[in-house]
Amino acid sequence: MLGADAAMQLVQTGATIMVGGFGLVGAPLALLEALGRSGASELTVISNNLGEPGQGLGALLRQGRIARAIGSYFTTNPEVISAHEAGTLEVTLLPQGTMTEAIRAGGAGIPAFFTPTGAGTALAQGKETRRFGERLCVLEQALYADVALIKAHVADRLGNLVYEKTARNFNPVMATAAACVIVEVDRIVDVAELDPEAIVTPHVFVDVLVERAA
């Protein structure tokens, strides 16, 4: 267990980070605020979106700390469009299912996989393709990060995690696909207080817990 600011010292300039959340829902907002206060810049961010203008990852974008973004849907934040047009932000767009599968693959030791999604479209340009049965498929590479910043609902002291409703989204897969996994949680409980059948992320994946200030 660390405070948010101490934990964000683990994110270095030039690092590749994964950030959970679907828009702001399930995003580790306290960690992102602390990351804003840290000195880390030139970040590569793997996240579905870049928050909203000035909020979540949108705040870091506004501060010019993000050099590259890999995700599926950036148009809800118009500042992504302007940063991209100004040439200060490099963007890699993936279909959302391909993105989450690539993260899962990174966490599961699968270096690459074929998927039908995107075959024959602009997003498959330059990618290897192969036909399986009747379907044209694209070879997609796994994604892996230096640090994952995720949000869970409750953790036990070992780091077992459960999530809350649709705030679960990308968090469990990102928990598997980074060298260092930092989790913002609403609450930390004693070991054995979580139902072993309902734990979504077993503690083997978790490195640092940060309890949200009450």
Partner: protein, 216 residues
Amino acid sequence: MSAEIRRRIARRALEELPAAGVVNLGVGIPTVIATLPEACGRIFIHSENGILGVGPRPPEDAVDPTLVDAGKRPITASPGAAYFDSALSFAMIRGGHIDVAVLGALQIDARGRIANWAIPGQPILGVGGAMDLLCGARRVVVTMTHLSSAGEPKIVPELTLPIGSLRPVDVIVSDYGVLDVSGGVLVLRELAPGITLERFTEATAALFKVGVSTNR
């Protein structure tokens, strides 16, 4: 486009959905389906951000910030709903477990393939789950206005906007009528109330076969 037209298209599209089917509803007119009283309890709604069993919108004082649909709007959970992560959600989609995806479209070609993600003249910075749904759902129903906001036909011989998938859609429901995609061609199944075959033809730039030409 008036809310009434959108509701009429949504109501007609609902009839294309199997009872107790698992359905994913895209942003726009498809989402209107979820708000129809006659949809209530008839279908199971999947939202790709991680829920099967989307319920009606909550009253404003009962909004739960952790409970949203893929359009990031507040929702409720129906009895029997389940939450899951995004990897399992897209496994459902890509693996062919969603009975029907109802999607909007910017353009449709003569073979039923659609452009549904890249907005003309804008940098390509958003795709979301559009390609996954188009590629993976067992059946794809398009709901849209027959003409663009500029009054141009959206059903065209060849797409000029970026294609969403090599896979053609199955049914197109517009304010002008219902088309099936069958054997690689468009087949007019039904004209909307008040739409003549002549007017439908004028508003459709691609060739199509006429199946049933009578209004409902």
